[in-house]
C-alpha cells in the first residue's frame, strides 16, 4: 500500500489523525497533514482507507 497526500488540498480538519493516528499527524504550525508512514503495514489498511474516505478535502489517496 502506498499513501499519497496533497498538502495543497488539506484543510487541517484532523479527521485522518482520529482515524489512523499511527499513519497521520498534523503540523503544529498550520495543522496540515503529515504522513508518518508512507508505506504502512498491511494491518493498518482499514484505518488508512477510513482516513482517506473521511478526509473532507479529498487530500489522501491510497494506492493498493
Amino acid at each position: 500500500m502506498k499513501i499519497l497526500i496533497d498538502e495543497g488540498k488539506c484543510v487541517g480538519a484532523g479527521t485522518c489523525v482520529l482515524a489512523a493516528a499511527d499513519v497521520f499527524d498534523q503540523r503544529d504550525e498550520d495543522g496540515i497533514v503529515v504522513l508518518l508512514d508512507a508505506d504502512p503495514p498491511h494491518t493498518s489498511l482499514p484505518q488508512v482507507r477510513d482516513a482517506a474516505a473521511r478526509c473532507p478535502a479529498l487530500a489522501i489517496e491510497v494506492v493498493e
Partner: protein, 401 residues
C-alpha cells in the same frame, strides 16, 4: 430521467421543518431520500432551489468546487439574486478556494487534534467548576445556563482572548444572529453590535497583545482589521452556539434513552464513540448547508442550472439507511464506525470539530459521573425546543437529581 429546474412555475414543496420527535429530523426526509433525493424546493427565505437528502449526494455537493459557498447562510431577508455576492470581510465560511484557503490556513494550526488534547485538562477544570456550582445550587436548575452554555463560552473566550465578563451581550447578539425569525433590522443590529465588539478587541490586542488566537492573528500581519473582525465574530459565534446545544441536547437525549445512558455509565470507554453517535443522531445544523451552482451540474439525473441554490441536509444524510445500514434511526452509543456529516464535509468542514469533541467528552463524562440520579425536572413535551434557530437544541433544560 432528466428534470430541469422549474422556471415559470413555483416549486410546490417547501423544506420540511416540523419534527414529530424532538430528536428526529422531520419525517418527510425519509420519503425524500427514498423517492426524490434531489428535490425542487422552496426554502424558508422564499428562495427556490434544490434539496439534497442522501448521504453520498450531500458529500458530493459539499466537496465539489462547482458549488460555491458564497451564499452559505439560509435566512429570511438574506441576499437575493443568482450571482453570489462578495462575502463580508473575514467571513470565510462564505468564501471559496483560494480565498477561503488563506483564512483557513491561518487558523488550522490552532485547532489540531494535538492542540485540543493539550487543552483537555483546562476544559475539565472548567467543567468541574460548573458542576460544583450546580451541586451547590440544589435542583432544579436550567442545565443550559448552568452548564451547557458556560463551558464552550468560557473555553472559546479563553482561546480567542474575549473577556467572558461580556458574555451577556455577545450571547444575546449571537442568538439573534442564529434565530430564523429575527427581522432583517434585528439581524443587522445584532451583527453590527457583534462586529463593533470584536473590532474594539482587535484594536486593544494591537496595543496590548496577549496569549490568544486573536492576538496572534493581529500580530501575523496577514489580515486587515475588517477581516480580523469578521474572523473573530465567526469563531466566537461558532465556538459557543453549536457546542452548547450539543451538550444540552445530548443530555436530554440520553435521559430519554435510559438503556443507552446505562450502557454509557457502565462503560465510560464508550464515550468517544458515543460523542460521534450523538453528533450523527442529533445533527443540530437543522436546515442544512447552502451552496450555489457555479455552472450547470448534473446530480442524480437532475440538471442543476448555474446559479441555482442547493441545500445539503446534514441531518437527513446522517439518517441515510443506504450508508448507515444498521438502524440509523436509533441511537446506539456502541455503534462502530460513524463517519457522520454533523461537521459538514469539504473544505468548510468544521474547523473547531476537535475542540467540540474535547468539550463534549469532558462535559458529558463529568456530568454523568457527578450526578448519577440526573433527570428532567419537567415533562419532556414542556422542554422548549430550538425549532426557530439555525442551530437546533433546547432553549432551556430544567433538570434535577
Amino acid at each position: 430521467m432528466t428534470n430541469t429546474q422549474p422556471t415559470n412555475t413555483e416549486p410546490t414543496k417547501t423544506q420540511p421543518t416540523v419534527r414529530s420527535c424532538p430528536f428526529d429530523p422531520p419525517a418527510e426526509y425519509r420519503t425524500l431520500r427514498e423517492q426524490e433525493p434531489v428535490a425542487p424546493m422552496t426554502f424558508p427565505d422564499g428562495a427556490a432551489g434544490w434539496l439534497v437528502t442522501r448521504y453520498d449526494d450531500v458529500r458530493t455537493v459539499l466537496s465539489d468546487a462547482r458549488f460555491s459557498a458564497k451564499r452559505g447562510i439560509l435566512r429570511p431577508g438574506g441576499p437575493e439574486g443568482d450571482v453570489p455576492a462578495p462575502p463580508p470581510p473575514g467571513l470565510f465560511i462564505m468564501m471559496d478556494a483560494p480565498e477561503h484557503t488563506r483564512f483557513r490556513r491561518l487558523l488550522t494550526g490552532q485547532f489540531t487534534v494535538r492542540r485540543m488534547r493539550q487543552l483537555t485538562p483546562a476544559v475539565e477544570k472548567i467543567v468541574a467548576e460548573q458542576l460544583d456550582a450546580m451541586a451547590a445550587a440544589e435542583g432544579p436548575v436550567d442545565l443550559v445556563q448552568a452548564f451547557a452554555l458556560p463551558i464552550p463560552s468560557l473555553v472559546i473566550c479563553e482561546l480567542l482572548g474575549v473577556p467572558y465578563a461580556d458574555r451577556e451581550e455577545f450571547q444575546r447578539n449571537s442568538a439573534t444572529i442564529v434565530r430564523l425569525n429575527s427581522s432583517p433590522e434585528e439581524f443587522q443590529q445584532a451583527q453590527g453590535a457583534m462586529r463593533a465588539f470584536i473590532h474594539q478587541l482587535v484594536l486593544a490586542k494591537r496595543e496590548n497583545p496577549t496569549d490568544d488566537i486573536l492576538s496572534e492573528l493581529v500580530q501575523s500581519g496577514e489580515l486587515t482589521d475588517e477581516e480580523l473582525t469578521g474572523v473573530g465574530v465567526l469563531l466566537l459565534i461558532a465556538g459557543h452556539e453549536t457546542t452548547a446545544n450539543m451538550i444540552a441536547l445530548s443530555t436530554m437525549c440520553l435521559l430519554r434513552n435510559p438503556e443507552q445512558l446505562a450502557a454509557l455509565r457502565a462503560d465510560p470507554s464508550l464515550m468517544d464513540g458515543a460523542v460521534e453517535e450523538l453528533l450523527r443522531y442529533l445533527s443540530i445544523i437543522q436546515f442544512g448547508v447552502r451552496r450555489t451552482a457555479l455552472e450547470d451540474v448534473e446530480l442524480h439525473g437532475h440538471q442543476i442550472k448555474e446559479g441555482s441554490m442547493v441545500v445539503a441536509s446534514l441531518s437527513s444524510g446522517n439518517r441515510d439507511t443506504e450508508h448507515f445500514a444498521d438502524a440509523p434511526e436509533l441511537l446506539d452509543v456502541a455503534r462502530e464506525h460513524t463517519p457522520h456529516l454533523a461537521f459538514g464535509h469539504g473544505i468548510h468542514q468544521c474547523l473547531g470539530q476537535q475542540l467540540a469533541r474535547a468539550e463534549m467528552k469532558a462535559a458529558l463524562s463529568a456530568l454523568l459521573e457527578r450526578f448519577p440520579t440526573l433527570r428532567l425536572a419537567v415533562p419532556v413535551d414542556e422542554v422548549p425546543m430550538r425549532d426557530d434557530m439555525l442551530v437546533y437544541g433546547v432553549h432551556e433544560l430544567p433538570v434535577t437529581w
